[in-house]
């Protein structure tokens, strides 16, 4: 009798332990959200919320007229992110397809770990590359005075997103049952047709997940864009103009801002907006994933 009670106690203790672990992730997430919300709201005591979301001018320290518009930053973040994806998606899927379908297995065994190591390069190093390598190159190519602009940031973020996209896409292409490609080949399809019409569609959920993870990295990346995009807090005129992303603005200004001022709170408001954007991106990718997984079954 006693042993049964003891066993039951043990069981429930273990259950509570794992439940706590599981719930912890949610608590942290919700905690961060409410912390941001709590620190962001005071900003709107002085800033007009409409102005915050529609004004292109961010000049919170002006002695004449303080302005807190984040449109330029949102635009900048979107530009570098989309630019990065435009480079990284075709390249990443191409490399993944090469590794899974074309390359000799010995080549794959060497190349794939190297690609994965790329993911571990610190963002400072990538940013450094942007300043000394891509910057001058872009400047020369476009005839501008310097190459610290949106396109530079896009290329660097693409490099940072590539390892994730390649690695996960390759995994999911490899996970496509061989029976599918055999069936396709036996019907007279070329390897290219088999890849495009059978393997990539079958691996699509994994590929989308890979792209979304890459995108998540690009949106939230700070150091690289801070170093390589020129940090001009003006509305970007195009991919060749210098920009300043939301992340870079927070990183640059939060170190020097007087605490508990409107400026301080406004920076948290930017962080909150960024948090919500990434949350939405993740949500959408989750929905897409679920839709495709249903179709596969």
């Amino acid at each position: 009798m006693k042993t049964i009670i003891r066993r039951k106690l043990k069981e429930s203790a273990i259950r509570i332990f794992f439940f706590t672990n599981g719930i912890l992730a949610i608590i942290i997430l919700v905690g961060i959200f409410f912390f941001l919300l709590y620190t962001a709201i005071p900003a709107f005591r002085e800033i007009n919320i409409g102005e915050f979301f529609t004004s292109k001018v961010w000049n919170p320290t002006s002695p004449v007229k303080e302005e807190h518009g984040i449109v330029s930053m949102i635009m900048s973040t979107c530009m570098v992110t989309l630019g990065a994806l435009a480079v990284a998606i075709p390249l990443g899927i191409g490399v993944a397809a090469y590794l899974s379908d074309v390359a000799h297995w010995k080549v794959r065994e060497i190349v794939k770990p190297i690609v994965e190591i790329l993911a571990g390069i610190p963002s400072v190093v990538i940013g450094f590359l942007g300043i000394v390598l891509f910057g001058p190159f872009i400047a020369k190519l476009t005839g501008q005075s310097h190459g610290l602009n949106a396109i530079n940031g896009s290329i660097l973020l693409a490099i940072m997103a590539l390892p994730t996209i390649i690695s996960i896409s390759e995994d999911s292409l490899n996970a496509v049952p061989r029976a599918y490609s055999e069936a396709s080949l036996a019907l007279g399809a070329s390897r290219w047709q088999t890849l495009m019409r059978v393997k990539i569609p079958a691996a699509l959920s994994g590929i989308i997940a890979a792209i979304m993870l890459g995108m998540g990295r690009a949106i939230g990346e700070t150091m690289t864009v801070l170093m390589a995009t020129g940090n001009a807090p003006a509305f970007p005129k195009g991919f060749l103009s210098s920009i300043r992303t939301m992340t870079a603005t927070i990183a640059i200004e939060l170190g020097e801002v007087p605490y508990y001022t409107t400026h301080y709170y406004a920076l948290f408001a930017i962080a909150l907006v960024l948090f919500i954007i990434t949350f939405i991106v993740n949500l959408i990718s989750d929905l897409i994933l679920r839709k495709y997984q249903e179709r596969e079954l």
């Binding site: 080949l185 036996a186 019907l187 399809a189």
Partner: protein, 253 residues
């Protein structure tokens, strides 16, 4: 045997790396007949049938020696287009392997990759192929449902229809009934029986009764060697080789 060979292997050796999987195999698959390959597991019968549409090409480190002829043309010669070969020599696999697409799209796949655009014509051929595969009546009202919603036997008939849609001359069956229940098996055997009117059929099976039921000619393989080849009736009633007799009477295998 005076037979018009549709497909034929002459002194065929096959290697996986250094391992020799087929030794000096010479088999004739006569036109409009069903040729069965039987033998214990690992005897090379699946390897053999996969050399007939060069499916082994996709496995790294394999090597073919000797000749395989389709209408007298060596299919391993550099001039042979493997895509062309595979539209002439269709294949149905051990496990039903429909694509994760609709029933219609599964059948239309081969037509579309061949560049057919005419929707009406595609729909026509899809219907014709499903009828040939004896599946039309069961699926005609749900052509746009996912193929995975079908039962195993139906999926296998779908795969047969998918191969027939590209209008092959030879049909290869690699143990087509090993993952299917007896009633569905009977339906597929029925199909194979009828197919000899228009196609040359080669079937691998581990089920001797099945070979006896559906085939005109039977080849018995063991450990990569051809032990005996001849008319099915003779192989099963009066085998020349002691090993064949032992195998078909169930003494081993």
């Amino acid at each position: 045997m005076e037979l018009k060979a549709k497909m034929e292997s002459k002194h065929l050796n096959f290697y996986y790396g250094n391992k020799m999987a087929l030794k000096d195999i010479s088999i004739v698959a006569p036109a409009n007949k069903v040729t069965a390959l039987i033998g214990p597991s690992g005897c090379g019968k699946s390897t053999f049938i996969r050399t007939l549409n060069r499916m082994n090409d996709i496995i790294a480190g394999t090597k073919v020696e000797g000749e395989i002829l389709l209408d007298g043309v060596n299919i391993n010669s550099p001039k042979m287009d493997v895509v062309e070969l595979r539209t002439q020599v269709g294949m149905v696999f051990q496990k039903p392997n429909p694509f994760p697409k609709s029933i219609f799209d599964n059948i239309a796949y081969g037509l579309r990759i061949a560049g057919m655009k005419d929707r009406k014509k595609i729909a026509e051929i899809v219907e014709k192929s499903l009828k040939k595969a004896a599946l039309w009546d069961e699926v005609k009202d749900r052509l746009h449902e996912n193929a995975f919603a079908l039962s195993g036997g139906q999926q296998q008939r779908l795969c047969i229809g998918r191969s027939l849609a590209v209008d092959p001359e030879v049909m290869l069956f690699d143990e087509p009934c090993s993952a299917i229940d007896p009633i569905a098996t009977a339906k597929i055997e029925d199909l194979i029986q009828k197919m000899r009117e228009n196609y040359t059929v080669v079937i691998v099976t581990h089920n001797m009764q099945q070979a006896a039921r559906v085939s005109d000619y039977t080849a018995f393989l063991m450990l990569g060697e051809l032990i005996e080849y001849g008319e099915t009736t003779k192989i099963f009633t009066n085998p020349k080789n002691k090993l064949t007799e032992d195998y078909i009477t169930g003494r081993f295998g």
